[in-house]
Subunit: 195 residues, 2 copies
């Protein structure tokens, strides 16, 4: 989902810079803005009382995030933070609704973006039916865009990130990856993972 920056600015949008690790919104907050990444990396995640976190999505240049709560005017079900120094354009709810009203093609694009997001979340449910760590990791990797059997690819995630997406502990991820490497299900060269 990407709304043209000029349209956003015309309807009252403006850019904001976030430092690395800065919070954009917290679980439970009431939403005020539509957000679109101009530059940087945003992580949306859920955390529980003990501080354990589960990564839900990563958003980069051009991606919008947090649209469902702003459209529905419901408290955020998750939190968002900048993973690196990032610039984000934000616009108030009214401005977003005006844009949707004035530009049917943007509303349509948003519909398809939402469809894709539901689709991806449904697919990642495979992670939660999986009983073994190996299966969870495989399911997670299958859902990454660069995954295909043709040529070996560098896995673009750290072990910690894999742990955050699959709900496993980092030690379990490490041990499982080593086991899979021994069983020749993937390759580890110089700490880097290839599939």
């Amino acid at each position: 989902m990407q709304i043209d920056n000029n349209i956003l600015i015309t309807y009252g949008g403006y850019a904001i810079k976030y430092e690395k690790e800065a919070m954009i919104f917290h679980e439970g907050d009431l939403p005020n803005y539509y957000y679109q990444v101009l530059e940087g990396t945003i992580k949306v995640y859920t955390s529980n009382a003990e501080g354990k976190t589960l990564a839900q999505s990563i958003f980069k240049n051009g991606d919008s995030f947090g649209e469902p709560p702003i459209l529905l005017s419901l408290p955020y079900p998750n939190s968002a933070k900048a993973k690196e120094e990032s610039t984000i354009i934000r616009i108030a709810r009214e401005g977003l609704l005006d844009i949707i009203r004035d530009y049917p093609e943007i509303a349509q694009e948003m519909l398809f973006t939402f469809a894709k997001r539901i689709y991806d979340k449904s697919k990642s449910a495979q992670i939660w039916v999986s009983t073994t760590p190996e299966e969870k990791i495989v399911q997670f990797l299958k859902n990454t865009p660069s995954y295909n059997q043709e040529t070996p690819q560098l896995v673009p995630y750290t072990r910690k990130q894999i742990a955050e997406f699959t709900g496993l502990r980092i030690e379990t991820v490490i041990r499982t990856l080593i086991k899979m490497h021994k069983e020749k299900k993937l390759n580890i060269i110089n700490h880097k993972i290839y599939y």
Copy 2:
């Protein structure tokens, strides 16, 4: 999401009856139709190789389901089956796209339905960060519509269903509910659960 039945029929939709336990589509199938429940109960779920299943959603009268794959023309990420004898209106992809084109208010309603569905899926991520069975069950119950602290409510799910939604084994659900009952966190009267 609900499209007026007359509109569906005008654009080529028609009703189909499914017996109890009949499959509507399977994970991996290419989608051909938009489905809307006229009567009955449809379960959408994911299953893994060992036959363990994870319930993703229940759809009833008026609800549509399986829209993201049909819009995106991507293989179903999950399966759907009738939990009881059900009647469903279905319509081919072209008809659905025509309706979206001809009725902007339906496209708009679909946008908000999708937003709600993403929202609910994001919330249910709380189940997957939870480390203990009790926490998972509590998070699941919190996401049920009838949940509120005001008056005690009958939990409208069987233990087996709670297990299917939380990814726990039924024995674990039973033991956890009994423990919670002893700790007065909920009530069990005659096998029925109240919160």
